[in-house]
Symmetry: C2
Subunit: 379 residues, 2 copies
């Protein structure tokens, strides 16, 4: 089987590495350079999108903010999974919130804002504080504001008007209830064409400056896992979803509220490479290639640490049992996702012990907040 | 780091897949086509051996029967690990037996044969039956005879003379004591430049027509494991070995006798991809790239089934938890190693249960003897 991934970043790369043993060959369409490349070697296949599409059996995506013309051309081929609708829903907060309401999956109260008056009304209807999110390109915490009191409306709206002026005409703002969550968790699951669903154990996530910094799994009771599975099934069934879908939740005193969806493999699922029988990358390929889904059962409790804007890790990290580095082969840029470190243990206690052993090798300068995040979950 | 592998088969391919997450880029020198290729995509880098060597940080090998000029050129670069001596020892049964005697590691009695008279003398000195093995290219059971009685000497020696006539001038025959072994096992270990050694749990191996068909691990008591570790350390230390080294043993009533060495990653270590913390391919790269060795600890008991001369497996195999297919991307030829299937379980009982569940999907025609081999070890 030949799979073309829209997007040529680390997710396509890890799909290629996971697909090779299955005899699945993965190419990637770089939407910026308009070239079809090998996502590991970056060899250029000298194809345009049309030839790349003609040459593959299945098209999928590693991100949801796909330019409209590419999305339409991919969908028109009849080869695109999870397909245009799922990608649009994942890429537009208005559609995402509509979908969640439609399938009765709990999420924060919200209002789409067309004007400053709408924002004023939202402070009345929803209350304060409010979180203001752009409908498009909300990826990794960009385009977000927090409104704490009504007297900030003018100042915040002025900033938003500048942001909207720089955005596509289809951009909009969504005001959301600020949720006093206890923690952020996510669930990664996979669904195939028959409607079979396999879901990985819930992952607990820690963000630093709006970007995921640290995750670990398993991180929930069976009761909470069931809530996540229910939400996953409702959403994935409604979309007739094929592939891996990630759902981020707020855990509010044991009730899960959906924060957002990602119609793709997800950073908070990278732990599955060491921790699950079949990792998220392989399971996504299995689903889109119509192979039986792989088991999502836990093999080893595993934590994941993102490597951001840094291209060197103390090589002593390699000496720790259960510690696995995953580099993405990218040139260093501030804040860029350069790789991740999976830390697995035979049980949760030994995983946390290895995280504590690893942490001193990761300087605060390159891993801000990590020491505290690990301390918080290992106490 | 850039690693050039001599040989462009499945072992180089699996090294490339294991190396990518570590930021190690693997190229392969195909000794038949004299080209440097990517071992997964087979993209041709348009380099000869000299440019391939100039362009890499480390040279290693996926097989021991390397043409002499290539071996000498690689060694001369100062980049070759485990190096010329280890490769020559692994590729020549005379040197291998000498080494084993030199470091006092138990192995079958033997005699190098220069003539029919030597063979007659061997039947006296060693006894009957004898196993006659070619010193060079003994890979996968080729160039072997068994001598059961003295009246077969003329007929067998006649065949051997034909074989020697077709071989290189450096070819020779070694007569060995026939060992009444209970089972065949192997141990895969890794050693680095500092002399640190990590050894995987002993693997039990089943051959069919002289080719490995089925392995599983763990397969030994701690006492037997210690014998294997001792043998490994003596051999690897004497060679000042750097990389993964495989040792095949006969288990004779709880005593291990070395059968042969392979100075490389080995088919009987493929189970480590699912079953060990760090697989043999990654550990070989870590050693030759001078990174700390990875843990060889068991994560899950795992069995491995070779796929020989067959390019399709019933896709229901994918539906079994713990079952992982590894295809090599090769064109089908009779008897060719096309891929392997790893079968992992949370414990040995569940591994054997999954092997029993998988076996009916693997027809006797393509997997001769497998049903019996699995039955024998699961009873």
């Amino acid at each position: 089987m030949k799979v073309l991934v829209l997007g040529a970043g680390q997710l396509a790369r890890m799909m290629a590495l996971a697909g090779a043993p299955l005899g699945i060959s993965v190419r990637a369409y770089d939407v910026r350079s308009h070239s079809v490349v090998h996502p590991v070697t970056l060899a250029d296949y000298q194809q345009d999108l049309a030839s790349g599409i003609a040459d593959c059996d299945v098209i999928t995506a590693e991100f949801e903010h796909i330019p409209n013309d590419i999305l339409i051309e991919s969908q028109a081929s009849g080869k695109f999974l999870p397909g245009e609708r799922a990608i649009r829903v994942g890429g537009d907060r208005r559609l995402e919130k509509q979908l969640l309401d439609q399938v009765f999956v709990a999420n924060a109260k919200y209002k789409v804002l067309a004007s400053k008056a709408d924002l004023q009304q939202a402070t009345v209807d929803i209350g304060l504080p409010l979180v203001l999110k752009s409908a498009l390109e909300g990826y990794d915490g960009k385009g977000q504001w927090r409104l704490k009191s009504a007297d900030e409306i003018d100042a915040v709206w002025a900033e938003i008007e500048v942001f909207l002026g720089d955005s596509s005409p289809n951009q909009a703002m969504v005001a959301e209830e600020w949720v006093p969550f206890d923690r952020e968790v996510s669930v990664i699951g996979v669904r195939n064409k028959n409607g079979d669903v396999n879901v990985y154990p819930i992952t607990q996530n820690h963000h630093e400056n709006g970007v995921l910094s640290f995750s670990f799994a398993p991180a929930a009771s069976s009761e909470l896992q069931q809530q996540a599975v229910d939400a996953f099934s409702k959403i994935a069934d409604e979309l007739d979803y094929v592939g891996v879908l990630a759902i981020e939740f707020f855990d509010v005193q044991g009730s899960l509220l959906v924060n957002e969806l990602a119609p793709r493999v997800h950073n908070s699922g990278h732990w599955t490479q060491q921790g699950a029988d079949v990792c998220q990358f392989e399971n996504h390929l299995r689903a889109v290639c119509d192979l039986p889904l792989g088991s999502t059962e836990l093999v080893r409790p595993t934590g994941m640490i993102n490597i951001l804007g840094c291209d060197h890790i103390d090589s002593n990290a390699h000496a720790l049992a259960g510690v696995h580095l995953h580099w993405y082969g990218k040139d260093k840029r501030p804040g860029r996702k350069m790789g991740h470190i999976n830390v697995a243990g035979l049980d949760s206690t030994s995983m946390f012990k290895q995280l504590q052993a690893l942490q001193p090798l990761l300087p605060e300068h390159d891993f801000p907040g990590l020491a505290n995040a690990i301390k918080a979950v290992t106490h």
